[in-house]
Amino acid sequence: MISIDIEKKLKAYKGEQVLKIAAQFANGSITKIYGPSGAGKSTFLKIIAGLIDPEHGKISVDNLVWLDTATKVSLSPQKRKVGFVFQNYALFPNMTVQQHLEYVSDDAQWINQLLVIGKLETFTSHKPEYLSGGQQQRLAILRAIAIRPKLMLMDEPFSALDPKMKSELIPGLKSLWDELGTTVLIVSHNPQELEGLTASEMEINPM
């Protein structure tokens, strides 16, 4: 069980607004997070990953405290080790597809399995600049899942994929998440983006 209760001030065009979220996510669940632009959806994911600190709050995962501003506990992103898919992919320009996955895992069989699921097995020697937008996005997803995360945070993860590719990719990912027992939070502004995934929903609205 992942338990989150945080409060963070956000800088907005018209002064400040507050991101205030209290939620719980069951292990192995998939949750779609939606809300208007600038509501703090990406910030919420980064707070969970330990990349941004909130002013107040507590995050615990299976009774392990990741963050508690009252007792000044804050585990580093390295210790939280969530699978994070960034909205801009955040691929490493100096690394090929294969090197991206080898940076994370030395299990060749696991890497091959991921390449097949992402349909990138014929692009292993390509660097990101020679991949299409959809291929880059799939690589970002594969890199995040390569660490076998217990929690996966995905920011608009399927926005560059065509419907056919998406419908082929999602079952493969779902099967991996089930196998790993991964809890998944997916930020998406497109209601149709998560077709084929049974997910509960959570709305984030600025205050």
């Binding site: 980064k46 580093s76 994070f84 995040a144």
Partner: protein, 223 residues
């Protein structure tokens, strides 16, 4: 023509560049992360040699490292090190004088990299050090190369600082730029011309290299 000043200049530039690479990479990385009063002041100090007359910098270094007082006296008494009118002194002066040419391009390149690159590496469990070496550094390779070439070329062209702290000791502190000045003083225009042509040739090749490397540098897929 005595080629010793040319070799001395190249040796000085090479040593200063290596030292500045070792100091500059971590320093530029630290400066590229966030802002603080300490960082602003340090950055201003590092940048000062760009605008300060070299003779002023040389004068202060001469005063600071004079074996008769202050740090210079302590270094002389405690370690038998004399920086004034020595090659070691030239290295120290060059490191200070050329530092902005090493720090500036590297810091700027690091700041232009998307923050999400290091964030992605951290979430994959990688330390800050490993992220710097395996992700950030390879992606600013062209800028590091540019910084190293500019530092080398700038050190070749030093005159005021070198003259103040090193003087004109043949084989020790008489670098090429001093040799040009000295040859003209002695009405030996042929030697002055030869030294000048060699310096001109070397720096021209270096500047062409900078533009070639910058043209072919790897582009980020995020651009």
């Amino acid at each position: 023509m005595d080629l010793t000043p040319i070799w001395l200049t190249l040796k000085l530039a090479a040593i200063a560049t290596v030292i500045l690479l070792i100091i500059g990479l971590p320093l530029a990385y630290w400066l590229s992360k966030g802002r603080s009063i300490a960082k602003i002041i340090l950055e201003a100090i590092i940048t000062m040699p760009l605008v300060l007359p070299p003779s002023v910098l040389g004068f202060y270094l001469l005063m600071a490292f004079s074996p008769k007082h202050g740090i210079g006296e302590w270094l002389h008494n405690a370690f038998d090190i004399q920086l004034v009118f020595s090659f070691k002194g030239l290295i120290l002066a060059s490191v200070i004088y050329s530092m902005p040419f090493m720090i500036g391009p590297i810091k700027s390149a690091l700041q232009q990299l998307p923050l999400s690159l290091s964030h992605a590496s951290y979430t994959l469990g990688k330390s800050e050090r490993e992220t710097f070496i395996k992700i950030l550094l390879p992606n600013i390779r062209a800028s590091v190369l540019t910084a190293a070439i500019l530092t080398f070329a700038h050190t070749l062209g030093e005159f005021g600082v070198v003259l103040m702290i090193g003087g004109n000791i043949p084989g020790v502190t008489r670098v090429a730029s001093i040799a040009v000045y000295d040859s003209v003083e002695n009405m030996d225009y042929a030697s002055a011309n030869a030294y000048s042509l060699i310096l001109f040739g070397i720096t021209f090749i270096m500047m062409v290299s900078v533009f070639v490397f910058n043209k072919y540098k790897a582009k980020s897929p995020l651009e």
